[in-house]
Symmetry: C2
């Protein structure tokens, strides 16, 4: 991991998306969300994804000049068709609508169909914080997770992010895949010759395995909780709920009908129309319940009580969701740098070259 | 487990709650929700709880003639003070408000403070189904779950229920504690001399244990996912989110500040005001997004795809959330009976005797 000058990386990333055909404002949004992942230490959702987006763009799976349409709305809800936009463009638009609706009627909710990968869910949830709202974002994804008792992967790692404002304390920001382990982490383990932890993977026969590359050989990630006796069926409920809210409710492709963007997944779609992946966003004004002041005092209290509780022996502290990512981001923000792997920068230069962009990072 | 005549059990239960001082309509609501748990096979939340409610009533922790007040509302939200009502009374009222708001503006959300145990979360979520809405219910509870890296239990088993209507298929009904195992199940294991599964419990020192009664000796349930490497921090996020939405947002007692109703919990509250436990409810009209017809077709499709997928070797089928409970309920509904343990019936007779109610079951 090397540190690169943030301004230069941002300029190069924006230029590349503009060269792909994105309008300047979209290129800016996409770059910000992508680089935010690297700043927050979630490198699997950062600039590392650029080659994938570039490939999908060339295959015409991503529309760089989307006309995002509102298909239906009520005072507190909206359904958007993203017109095959990159998820960052669709997500920013939908979350903005959810926030506007919350401003007027207390809460706002937006579903999106016909979209693509949107980077870190946390980026959208955090948009609500400045408005003194609780922000919620979720998305479905490539099928890699086997429901309890299933032989095959039928659901995505389906992340949820919830951002909750506080007063003096930094906000609570949960941003997590509903699967026990992320695909990116398995790739890293495999590349380093490591085994995956017990209880999180199954092979093509449904048998437990530690082989970190089992997903490339018809294996699956188990649901959060693992076997039924340790609560795996609850993890299935979580994965299923994200799939239903993000995809069934907005009318996107769900579960195993998602068109895979991973080479080793075959995909179950036959003649079904491709309605992309889907997202679901929510915003709730905290003062739609208590006053802002009361809520923030209590949220501060909650965070302090948890943070100051006694850690288990051998542990330093209880980690409040969002703490590690914020600390990571603050470090690089102070330096005005961004951490990137050399291979990632190499790929950015390569794609820049292909698109005639002068990459100076 | 014996089968008892449903009408007789219902009549006795209603009479007991009336004898405790509940208005007839409240007694009816409480009885229905309580017995629904037994009908659905969730006996830990059924009539087995009557002695606890009776005890809390005598201690004046439960108010049988509550004046439930609306503290604040917006077009899509409401905050209620339950005035120490039993949770079934407060929950029914709050979920009804959420549904009414959803009818008008697409979605409705209600938070409740100053409440008590409310039985199965699923009962409230299911209220939305007849309205072609998605129903959501959650609640906080006695602190029994240790966050990742925590020595002590700071959060409840904090259940979530989400009910989603379908067309020809029965609805999807997820109703689960966010902890890997329920307290009631641990009690049953202990009474039968069984060990708890690996990875779900820790002792007073934070060390792994299989002792099913460890909660009575300062132990904790771990979060869903267990250790951090198998995703336990995601389970912590889930438990935390339920606590924050159910208790911090409505201004109830959260996490370790909940006044315990279990004898072996000491409770961390010092001079804080007791604002009871809290609940959070939601209702979303499916036609606030797609048309009802489109949504139901896709939900049927989702359920069928999952149900008909290949089960793992040795497994019969992929269990759709809500299937086992519905099959259980249908069986007893056909017989007009309800399954109860003899000890539970004995307790009901005893309490009936104490309150001068003629229990004929």
């Amino acid at each position: 991991m090397e540190e690169y000058n943030y301004q230069n990386v941002e300029a190069a990333t924006k230029s590349i998306f503009k060269a792909m055909g994105c309008p300047p404002e979209d290129a800016r949004q996409i770059s910000n969300i992508l680089l935010r992942a690297d700043l927050r230490g979630i490198k699997t959702h950062g600039l590392m994804r650029l080659p994938e987006y570039h490939r999908l763009r060339k295959l015409d799976k991503i529309n760089v000049k989307p006309v995002i349409r509102i298909l239906h709305q009520t005072p507190s809800t909206a359904l958007l068709d993203a017109d095959k936009a990159l998820g960052m463009v669709a997500g920013t638009r939908a979350m903005t609508m959810a926030i506007e609706k919350a401003r007027r009627v207390g809460t706002g909710w937006a579903g999106v169909r016909n979209s693509n990968h949107y980077g870190i869910a946390g980026a959208y949830a955090m948009m609500a914080l400045d408005e003194n709202m609780i922000g919620i974002a979720m998305t479905n994804a490539n099928p890699l997770v086997a429901p309890t008792y299933s032989l095959k992967p039928l659901l995505g790692t389906n992340p949820i992010a919830v951002a909750i404002p506080a007063g003096e304390q930094p906000p609570f920001i949960a941003d997590f895949a509903t699967s026990p382990i992320a695909r990116g982490k398995l790739d890293v383990m495999h590349n380093q010759g490591e085994s995956a932890p017990e209880g999180v993977l199954q092979d093509e026969q449904g048998q437990p395995t530690n082989e970190a590359n089992i997903l490339t050989r018809n294996g699956s990630i188990k649901t959060l909780g693992g076997e039924k006796e340790t609560g795996g069926h609850k993890g299935f409920c979580m994965s299923a709920l994200v799939d239903i809210l993000s995809a069934v409710l907005p009318g996107a492709n769900f579960g195993p009908t998602v068109t895979p963007t991973l080479g080793y997944l075959r995909g179950e779609r036959k003649d079904e129309e491709d309605k992309g992946i889907g997202h679901f966003f929510g915003a709730m004004r905290v003062d739609a319940f208590q006053t802002e002041k009361e809520f923030k005092q209590q949220m501060d209290h909650w965070i302090k009580v948890m943070r100051e509780s006694e850690p288990a022996i051998g542990q330093e502290r209880i980690v409040i969701p969002g703490d590690p990512e914020r600390e990571h981001e603050e470090h690089y923000y102070r330096n005005q740098t961004i951490p990137l792997m050399d291979e990632v920068v190499e790929k950015v230069r390569e794609i820049g070259g292909e698109l005639g962009v002068d990459v100076n990072i």
